[in-house]
Amino acid sequence: MTSVLSVRDIVKRYRGVTALDGVSLAVRAGTITGLIGPNGSGKSTLFDCISGFQRADSGSVQLDERTDLTGMAAVRIARAGVRRTFQQLKVFARLSVLDNLLASAQAAPGYSALAESLHLPGTRRHERAMRERALQVLAEIRLAPHAASPAAALSYGQKKLLELGMALMSDPKVMLLDEPVAGVNPALIEDLRRELVRMPARGVTLFVVEHNLQLVFDICDWIFVLDRGRLLTAGTPDQVAKDERVIESYLGHG
């Protein structure tokens, strides 16, 4: 099975504090892969380094074992097919729910600000297709009734759903989800879970950071455990659940 993401020897230091100390891992295509570890173990930093929001001090990241993402700007990594969400939930608050989805599918090939501004025929066709797609995604995440309302008006859980829908709109190869169900009530967690497990069938590989371990062990095919900037262990949910070091690391400096 091929790796959609190959991370090699990523090191990231902040003024003497080593956040990531030579992390190497591979996320296999078509899987839901989890990344767990206690607070401060470097999970979000690793996501930042993969997605170009922070630059690693050394190490490399490859997409599909072909494209070298190392040192690329975040925008270009996103366009290459790596879509991330943020620990601090982000939506375009003042745009409508529908426009949030459309903005998320913005980076289509051949996009030209001038052509778009002049509403050239090709752009209209594309816009229509995107609008249809967005309405379909809205229906899937059950936000269709809110299409026209500003994203700011949604509840927290609905924003989480929207965030996922936005990620889906951009047709990524891999999604880096930073705590997709944090702070969401149990009923909505179920909705989110249902969406998450459908992603591989949609051709999207998931790489998930999540503190809700029950969910992680439930949906993931493979789990990596980080501890203090190093990869502690990795394996199937069963293997990781039995690993004493994992429990220790969670209890050890909690």
């Binding site: 700007a73 925008v75 996103a78 903005a103 913005q106 501004s117 816009e127 951009s170």
Partner: protein, 300 residues
Amino acid sequence: MNRRTAAFAAAGLVVLAFPLLVQSPYLLHIAVVTGIYVVLAQSLNLVLGYCGLLSLATPAFFGIGAYVATLLALRAGWDTAATLVLAAAGGLVAGVAIGFPSLRVSRHAFVIVTLAATLLLQLVALNWEDVTRGSLGLPNIPSARFLGFAVVERTQWYYAAAFAATCAVALTGLIVHSRFGRAMLAVRDDEQLAAACGIDAFRTRLFAFCISGALAAVAGALYAHFITYIDPGVFGFSVTETLHTMVILGGAGTLWGPVAGAVIFTALPEALRLTPELRSLIYGAILLAIVLYQPRRLLG
């Protein structure tokens, strides 16, 4: 929807019939200035309203447009259709020159660089006397002449200005209702999320800034042909104050808000004949109120 259409039709009729209703040359003069302000307001609206960037370069673009058009008309006797195009091109180039280095750095750097550019250009206009005659200014600018058709009468000027204002609104509408417009709003709302969506904040802002530059330069060119005299004062900041009031209070980031703002804040002081001192006082109070009650608008 019907009411909206009716309101627009009524407004359109008033705009068309205005010279018939009002014979006063003074009021027509104010109306022409208002039209030019609408163009300027949309220029600022693109950057301030839709990109959420504080730009102090509007006078720079305005001045460039005024000088480019003036020099081409005075020295080379060019037709106004051509001087307007060249003025717009000047604004576009200035937009790249100012925006390219500054938009990459930070929003704060952008504010400072736009301010510096305006001050610098004013200095150039003051000191490059061979070309600009410095503070003496350039008088006797020919009135507009489009492809041989002279615009001399105030009524003719009125319709020319109304046409320019309409074009500016239409252009802005076209831009903001496109996918590019959505990119601008996305970048304004959350730059990081925009990046995660693959939207290049720098390019988006640069493009908007250049269009804004071209619009303001066209306004400057129209102003020069209408007033028939310019001096380095066209780079001055008195216009910026008024303009920010128009856009922010009219409704930055909306299509018609700045139009309403331009009309109200040109007409009101004239109609009520407020003293300049009082105007400054009100302006200050209003700006303070905005900073206090809607700080996200400007600082977001």
